[in-house]
Subunit: 329 residues, 2 copies
């Protein structure tokens, strides 16, 4: 079998996760890592994998089936998405929910014009969580849907804490409220805002001589980020932060609760959850499965931007449709 | 908006569930209930819904977009599936896992020859559970997958108990073992046979004068059904069985556990679960969403048999792709 040849653009946590995930998929092969850094400063520690400057990417259009874009959504993907979709089939994890419709339109236009195929907003949220929100709503239209995030590290909130005067380093955990989850599981159909579903826990290294009470006050009253939430603050040493809080766990729950039947008296609860030791490695695993799907779609002549809603699930698997029906249906 | 016009074949628990589910979907309309019973003995209790003998179904080919086949897999669907697929687009819940490949081939042939579209084996297992087994395996190929069923009523096992001498009536619950689920959640990747994952609990009404010890012995030693399982037997009155054990709850868990990363040290756990007060009403809700999907596929000119692996998820929703991207991605 001819392997699907992929490239990685951006060699951070997500890019490294893709490199590791490719090794768990026999039908996929990593050709090169594309970076904006000087290529001799990047060691990918894998025989046969080229390190290439992103400016030279166009020389690789005939060697790579799908390019996995592993940059961030704030500044990298808005530039790299359209740029690479003009040359390659792509998969990205664009996760700025508000901007997804515009991003979709832009990538779709570029991909249609250039005869390429792009899967956008792939991962777990957006991604697997979106699939579950959508399917659950389609099946139980009369119910209520809930998304809980965590327990896990929120980069945005960690960054916000690190910007506070007197904070040297910090990690913020988003933790779903167990009692809110239990209300949903019990079929109570509660009305829950994001603040009703989560608590926030901060581990902070203070600068020497900083006023900890002042830091605490500034965090718990920070609008949008913490003001409306139950927030716990722990001051720790840099050593403790490095040793106990440098992992990147995450996860969450997508749930839907509805009553069915002539008298609407039967509770039906659907629940999808993830418990991830490594958020970037899991996201990378999803990207790799979608690289396989995009390659198949492209081979069939399909072009343009696609999301998790558009791609039949069988395309994610290396197995044939007959094998899937026999083994997994 | 033109509604999707559906018919129901077979007016048992599943058919009644479809009738109720249709009322929760504004874009779908129930045209008729098709039955093998004399039509004047069937009251569907809904204005405007025709009751038609299945022998007269062909007169309705131009009035019905999708026929939902609500018979059983043992004897009804092997006959009704091909028969109706020759005249209508269909959705069924064929759940004889061993026979699915043959059933697929037969329906696919009939549907291709007649220009119809059929979704087979729709529901939750096969159905939503199959989707999750498949997607989880594609994303985490190096891991282990687990399906747990219950807590819920197993018709097959209840029937087996009712066939025992001296048993007047019985209900058998399949209950997933909590400690096995916890092992999976903890990332222990245990090897688990079906008997290691479930216990069986029977509520039995004995005939007057029957030897309860003998009944118990015959059940717990019954090959395949109970012999290998931890089985609990409760003798109850018919009144208690009718009052407390006539509901049809079910559910279960599809889980996958895998280690990712360069050193394979990060546990990743995916879990999908259902907790259903009414198994037939939930299955019916899934069938109705797939009726919408099959209608769209048929309108696009797609023909043949389809499973949950083949149909893009967006087809299940009444919302447009743009709405889905904006609201649910």
């Amino acid at each position: 079998m001819e392997k699907v040849k992929v490239g990685i653009v951006g060699y951070g946590n997500l890019g490294k996760g893709v490199q590791a995930a490719v090794k768990q998929n026999d039908d996929i092969e990593l050709v090169g890592v594309f970076t904006r850094r000087p290529v001799d400063t990047v060691d990918v520690n894998e025989e046969g994998v080229k390190v290439v400057n992103t400016d030279d990417a166009e020389e690789y259009t005939d060697q790579i089936d799908v390019m996995l874009l592993c940059g961030g959504s704030a500044t990298d993907l808005p530039v790299q998405g359209p740029k690479f979709a003009a040359m390659f089939n792509t998969v990205d994890s664009y996760d700025n929910h508000e901007e997804i419709p515009d991003y979709y339109s832009e990538i779709d236009k570029v991909a249609q014009e250039n005869g390429t195929t792009s899967a956008i907003s792939i991962g777990w949220d957006p991604g697997l969580f979106s699939m579950n929100r959508m399917v659950e709503e389609a099946i139980l239209p009369a119910g209520n849907g809930y998304t809980f995030w965590g327990e896990g590290v929120s980069q945005g909130h960690s960054d916000a804490v690190r910007r506070v005067d007197g904070v040297k380093d910090a990690v913020q955990y988003t933790i779903p409220k167990e009692d809110a989850i239990e209300q949903v599981r019990a079929g109570e159909n509660p009305d829950l805002a994001t603040k009703d579903k989560h608590i926030r826990e901060c581990y902070i290294v203070a600068e020497e001589g900083a006023d900890k009470e002042e830091i605490k006050e500034e965090i718990v009253t920070m609008p949008n980020y913490f003001e409306d939430y139950e927030t716990t603050i722990h001051f720790v040493s840099q050593t403790e932060l490095d040793e106990n809080h440098s992992a990147m766990p995450h996860g969450g729950f997508v749930m839907r609760s509805s009553k069915t039947g002539e008298d609407k008296e039967n509770n039906q609860i659907i629940e999808f959850s993830l418990k991830l030791d490594s958020n970037p490695e899991f996201t990378a695993s999803v990207l790799v499965a979608y690289a396989r799907a995009i390659h198949k779609l492209s081979e069939e002549g399909v072009t343009g931007a696609k999301t998790v809603f558009d791609i039949p699930l069988s395309y994610l698997s290396p197995k044939s449709s007959a094998e899937l029906r026999k083994e997994l249906l």
